[in-house]
């Protein structure tokens, strides 16, 4: 039996105000999560024999497909822990994401996904790039001035 697990953590991340809201809107824009209708249709197309289920159905599944609305499953950590705890030994765990990618969720992929979720939500890469950007601006400005470009 193939069970598709739907979970949309994005609505809970909205609704704040000020800078926090700007941050969340920006992260969500880049994550580009799909809505439930889209994910349901995608699952039906890729797994015609599968059905949607909750945690109680996972314990009897031979194959569990996590339906991330975005690419990497931002906000899926707790749900993944519960699914992994419930899935029978030997059950195949897969991901079908909002970019229409279908892949096995083995330990190495899971580690990779968690690293990317952390980078995506902490904006660590962007902060580092901004720092380098600002440091490099001074010599570039000087070079432009020397060449007469203002």
């Amino acid at each position: 039996m193939t069970v598709g697990v739907l979970h949309d953590p994005w609505p809970a991340r909205r609704g704040s105000t000020g800078m926090l809201r700007r941050y969340r809107t920006m992260v969500e824009f880049k994550a580009n999560p799909r809505d439930e209708t889209y994910m349901r249709a995608l699952f039906a197309e890729r797994y015609p024999g599968g059905h949607f289920g909750g945690l109680e159905d996972v314990s009897e599944a031979r194959q569990v497909v996590l339906l991330y609305p975005d690419a990497t499953g931002v906000g899926w950590g707790p749900m993944e822990q519960r699914v992994r705890g419930r899935a029978p030994r030997g059950a195949e765990l897969r991901v079908l994401n909002g970019r229409r990618r279908d892949f096995a969720l083995d330990d190495s992929t899971w580690r990779r996904l968690r690293l990317r979720r952390a980078l995506e939500t902490s904006l660590a890469g962007e902060a580092l790039a901004t720092l380098l950007f600002l440091l490099a601006t001074v010599p570039l400005l000087a070079a432009d001035l020397i060449r007469g470009r203002r």
């Binding site: 800078m19 990497t72 980078l119 790039a129 901004t130 601006t137 400005l141």
Partner: protein
């Protein structure tokens, strides 16, 4: 027509460039005056730094070509072709996409402008050698499955000493490096599933949807080499009109917080558009 060109033609016919969030959507009925007004409003706003008293005056020498034969390769919804026609040039415009041809004809009709609008492949233009005094193409030929051939063909139809202008997407840009390669390629693992060209096609110019068959931005040296081979004298400028919007996607408020003096050196180097211009030798 090759399969690749047919795929490009089909995709753009179904998703014409309307400058909305999604290609093909504008909120107005295709071909209506309101549709053209909304397309122009967005397109001109995107390129505001290039305008003077007339749109795109910083890059187009309208006065030099008044009454002259000019050609646009890839006219889309006809905004630029109509600007040239209003300035008195004898405009011919071509596009591979039949929707673009229909819409540009409709625009000219609505505005009472003269012009010859035809469907044609940029790799095989249906014109004599040296038929035009000025030829331009804006944001189109990076979708050509054979850019080198498209550039040779573009130069063939310019008379010796005639001018050209060419805007292509820039691969060494902040937009490509950050949104396509870092966010989608690395963070979202898309590089595991897509080769570089497919990654650029989906995330460079397809509203992040599947289907755009070919978008491959170029680098400055690549463009210079191809234009030299096609017989053109070339000057290349990076147009960084998009930089603010990319910075806004990196950190909240970053685009607004940085002073113009700090952004300018980056806009000059890492903008999304390369503007090549010059004369045919």
């Amino acid at each position: 027509m090759t399969d690749a060109a047919a795929a490009v033609q089909r995709w753009w016919a179904e998703h014409p460039m309307t400058y909305g969030d999604v290609h093909g959507e504008s909120g107005e009925a295709l071909g209506s005056p309101a549709f053209f007004a909304s397309v122009d409003e967005r397109f001109l706003e995107w390129n505001r730094p290039l305008h003077g008293s007339r749109p795109f005056e910083a890059i187009f020498s309208y006065d030099l070509y008044r009454g002259a034969r000019v050609l646009e390769v890839g006219c889309g919804m006809g905004t630029m072709a109509s600007l040239w026609a209003r300035e008195g040039a004898r405009v011919t415009a071509v596009d591979l996409n039949p929707t673009a041809v229909t819409q540009t004809r409709r625009r000219f009709e609505l505005l009472g402008l003269d012009g010859e609008i035809r469907q044609a492949d940029g790799r095989e233009l249906p014109f004599e050698d040296g038929a035009f005094d000025y030829v331009w193409s804006w944001g189109v030929l990076h979708h050509s499955p054979d850019l080198g051939q498209s550039l040779r063909e573009l130069m063939r139809v310019v008379r010796p000493g005639g001018g050209y202008g060419l805007m292509l997407y820039h691969r060494r840009s902040l937009l490509h490096g950050y949104m396509t390669r870092y966010v989608e390629g690395f963070l979202h693992l898309e590089r595991r599933f897509l080769p570089e060209v497919a990654l650029a096609s989906r995330y460079g110019d397809a509203g992040r949807e599947e289907g755009n068959p070919h978008t491959w931005p170029v680098t400055r040296p690549e463009l210079r080499a191809m234009l030299a081979e096609a017989g053109a004298d070339t000057r290349i400028r990076v147009l960084g009109t998009d930089l603010d919007s990319v910075l806004r996607l990196m950190l909240p408020g970053l685009g607004d917080a940085l002073p113009v003096a700090v952004k300018k050196p980056w806009a000059r180097r890492l903008g999304w558009s390369l503007w090549a211009h010059g004369q045919r030798r």
